[in-house]
C-alpha cells in the first residue's frame, strides 16, 4: 500500500468504527451546549468532520434555518413548523392532490430523487419535510449560480488528478455527456447509498457544493480501469449512472480528503 492509500484506508476504518469520532463528538456536544448556537462554528465543524448520526438532523435543521440559534425558542418554533407541516399535508388530502394523474415536470424529478434519499436519512417526518424543503431551496438560491460551474471544475480537477483518464473521456467524446444532472442537480441522490451520501450532504448543507465535484472525480478514479475499458460515451455514462455500491463509503472518504487537499481545511475561528 502506498502511504496515501494507507491513510485513506485508516480514515475510512476509523470513521466506520468510530474511534476518531469520539473526540469530534465531544467537541460538537460542547458547541451544541451554547445557549445561542454559533452557526459559523457549526458550519466549520460540519465542513471538517463527519457529523455523528445522532446529531445530524439537529445540526442540519439549525444550519438550514429551520431552527433558530436560540435553544430557548426551539420548542416553540418546532411547534410552528410541525403545525405548518400538518396544515399542508391535510390540505393536500382535501384537494385529493396526491394522485397518479399529477403531471411530473423534470424539476419534480430532481426534487423527488432528493426527497427519496432524504427519507432514508431523516427519520422524523416533520424534520424530513422541512429539511427536504430547505435543502432544495438552498440548491435553487444559494447555489444557483455555482452549480452550473461544477462540470467545468470537474474537468479541471480530473485533469490534475489523472490527465490520462480525462484524455480517454475526451477521445470518447464523453465529457459533455457525463451524468452531470445526477451528480450536481440531484447531488448524487439515487447514485450513492444514503449511508455514504449523508456525509457528502453534511458539506452541502454547511455551505459547500464544491464537494460534489470531488465525489465525481473520486468515482472516476475508483472505477478508472472499468472506464478506461469502455470506448463509447454512451457506455461510460450508463456505467457511471449505475456504479457498484459497495465502495461508496471509501469513495466519499477519499472525496472529502481530496476536497480538503485542493480547497483547504476550514479551521475554527477562535
Amino acid at each position: 500500500m502506498t502511504e496515501d492509500s494507507q491513510r485513506n484506508f485508516r480514515s475510512v476504518y476509523y470513521e466506520k468504527v468510530g474511534f476518531r469520532g469520539v473526540e469530534e463528538k465531544k467537541s460538537l456536544e460542547i458547541l451544541l451546549k451554547d445557549d445561542r448556537l454559533d452557526i459559523e462554528k457549526l458550519c466549520t465543524f460540519s465542513q471538517r468532520f463527519p457529523l455523528p448520526s445522532m446529531y445530524r438532523a439537529l445540526v442540519w435543521k439549525v444550519l438550514l434555518g429551520i431552527l433558530p440559534p436560540h435553544h430557548e425558542s426551539h420548542a416553540q418554533v418546532m411547534m410552528y413548523r410541525k403545525e405548518q407541516y400538518s396544515d399542508v399535508l391535510h390540505a393536500l388530502r382535501v384537494v385529493r392532490f396526491v394522485s397518479d394523474a399529477t403531471p411530473q415536470e423534470p424539476e419534480d424529478e430532481v426534487f423527488l430523487a432528493i426527497a427519496k434519499a432524504m427519507e432514508e436519512m431523516v427519520e422524523d417526518s416533520v424534520d424530513c419535510y422541512w429539511i427536504i424543503r430547505c435543502f432544495v431551496n438552498q440548491l435553487n438560491s444559494k447555489y444557483r449560480d455555482s452549480l452550473p460551474q461544477l462540470p467545468k471544475a470537474f474537468e479541471q480537477y480530473l485533469n490534475l488528478e489523472d490527465s490520462r483518464l480525462l484524455s480517454h473521456l475526451k477521445t470518447c467524446s464523453a465529457v459533455s455527456k457525463l451524468p452531470y444532472d445526477l451528480w450536481f442537480k440531484r447531488c448524487f441522490a439515487g447514485c450513492l447509498p444514503e449511508s455514504s451520501l449523508q456525509r457528502v450532504w453534511d458539506k452541502v448543507v454547511s455551505g459547500s457544493c464544491k464537494i460534489l465535484v470531488f465525489v465525481a472525480v473520486e468515482i472516476l478514479l475508483t472505477f478508472k480501469i472499468k472506464v478506461m475499458a469502455l470506448n463509447s460515451a454512451e457506455k461510460i455514462t450508463k456505467f457511471l449512472e449505475n456504479i457498484p455500491q459497495d465502495s461508496s463509503d471509501a469513495i466519499v472518504s477519499k472525496a472529502i480528503d481530496l476536497w480538503h487537499k485542493h480547497c483547504g481545511t476550514p479551521v475554527h475561528s477562535a
Partner: protein, 59 residues
C-alpha cells in the same frame, strides 16, 4: 444582549409568519379548487339538460 433578545424574537416571528403564509397559500389553493368544482358541476348540469332535451325530442 439587547441585540440577542431582538434576534431571538425575530427567529420566533419568522416561523410564525411562515406558518401563516402557508395557511394563506392553502386558502388560495382551496379557492381555486372550489371554482374548478363549480365549473365541473355546471358542465355536468348543462350536459344533463342537453341529454334530457335530446330524449324528449326523440320521444
Amino acid at each position: 444582549y439587547l441585540e440577542d433578545v431582538k434576534l431571538q424574537a425575530r427567529g420566533q416571528l419568522q416561523a410564525a409568519e411562515s406558518r401563516y403564509e402557508a395557511q394563506k397559500r392553502i386558502t388560495q389553493a382551496f379557492e381555486l379548487e372550489i371554482l374548478d368544482l363549480y365549473g365541473r358541476l355546471e358542465k355536468d348540469g348543462l350536459l344533463k339538460k342537453l341529454e334530457e332535451e335530446k330524449t324528449e325530442a326523440a320521444e
